[in-house]
Symmetry: C2
Subunit: 208 residues, 2 copies
DNA sequence: TCTTTCATACCTTACGTCGGTATGTATATT
DNA sequence: AATATACATACCGACGTAAGGTATGAAAGA
């Protein structure tokens, strides 16, 4: 079952969901057959859901941990999230299997919706609300601010979704950070910027 | 050919691209057959492309007209765009066929990419650059600002993509307008807000 | 006569079903 | 304790069927 998931994940990323057939998955399963797949998953789409769940669960767990820390105020937690999300080793791996989302609008869409429907209200919102309480963040619309931040960070700034050169990603990040400042949040520092450039160059190399 | 397009458009919106079969389209064509479709389009995906082209071309034409006006400065053009895009009659129609994008990640994805790859650089960017020249807009990264504005406006604030109640849409708009102010752009006024509420309520009614 | 516009029959691919097997496990019986 | 029965889990692989796409040819207009 985990084998099926990991094979499916790899193939969905490489060839795209639509262009990956059940037979493709079977061929990479080392002996297992179609029956095995349909024993564990009720449809091809069901496999996709499991794959995305796996992808988001890791990231959501990280968000939960930071959310529940007691040693940081709201703004510091926000900063911690940016640092973490940019330093996760998983990211490197993901960035190198690259073509990914261009062939996977369906996967992208479910990730986006998870961001808005789950990650924003459950993880980022409490942090922003804490920030409002402790005075480190100021806004009249915490729910919407949470959505906006995650959407811009996860989608627009994601080179897997909107292809960007190193330079473009850097500029996006500057605009993003300017946007946050507009909301009174200066959470971007040198570490983050450096790491970002590094990541993008990894991604660029893998696409040559 | 236009018949095929309009039927396909309606069905894609109602049932989603994936769940609309060629046969479905044929059945609504009133006599025409598969041969007719494949005479005009080389694949099902080709139909989708034509549909999205049609959708974007109308909106892009509006952008071009505003871009080429000579009686407005940059900021005023931005404002004009918001007013227009929110007042277009097409919008009403689109908003009422509703389920749409939830079932259409592929269509959504190509619209998003058109926004970033075409609309932003060709229409909004020149306007922002004019604004920089005439002093009505200030930014170091006009390309990225153009992308960000269009992405937030077209995607996040679009109730067809991310379902929103009237109240939520209003709050999103407030956050959006606060974001623009952060970039020194105050382009939102009462007219726009009113129209926005009206639109969202139309959309809500159609989903009951 | 040649091109455009379609209709029809057919091909191919790929999802999902279904009957069947094999192995393990829990419970009841002797 | 040993065996039998019942059920559950994991899996195989042929087949049905739907859907995208092709090939061919006819009709009609230029």
């Amino acid at each position: 079952m985990n084998l099926i998931l990991s094979v499916a994940y790899r193939l969905f990323m490489e060839k795209g969901y639509e262009h990956t057939s059940i037979q493709d998955i079977i061929d990479h399963l080392g002996g297992l057959s179609k029956g095995a797949i349909y024993h564990h998953f009720k449809s091809k789409e069901d496999i996709l859901i499991a794959v995305t769940d796996q992808m988001t669960s890791e990231s959501n767990q990280m968000l939960a941990e930071i959310r529940d820390r007691t040693d940081l105020n709201g703004r510091e937690k926000l900063k911690a999230i940016f640092k973490e999300s940019i330093n996760r080793p998983v990211q490197n791996e993901i960035y190198t299997v690259a073509p990914s989302f261009h062939k996977n609008p369906k996967l992208l869409f479910s990730l986006l919706h998870d961001t808005i429907d789950c990650a924003a209200p459950n993880y980022l919102l409490p942090i922003i609300q804490q920030g409002i309480s402790d005075g480190s963040i100021e806004t009249d619309y915490p729910e919407q601010l949470a959505e906006l931040i995650l959407l811009v960070a996860n989608a627009w700034m994601n080179p897997m979704i909107f292809d960007s050169s190193v330079d473009e990603t850097y500029r996006k990040f500057m605009v993003f950070s300017q946007m946050l400042e507009g909301f009174g949040l200066d959470v971007v520092d040198e570490d983050i910027l450096e790491r970002l450039e590094e990541l993008t160059s990894i991604y660029q190399k893998s696409r040559q």
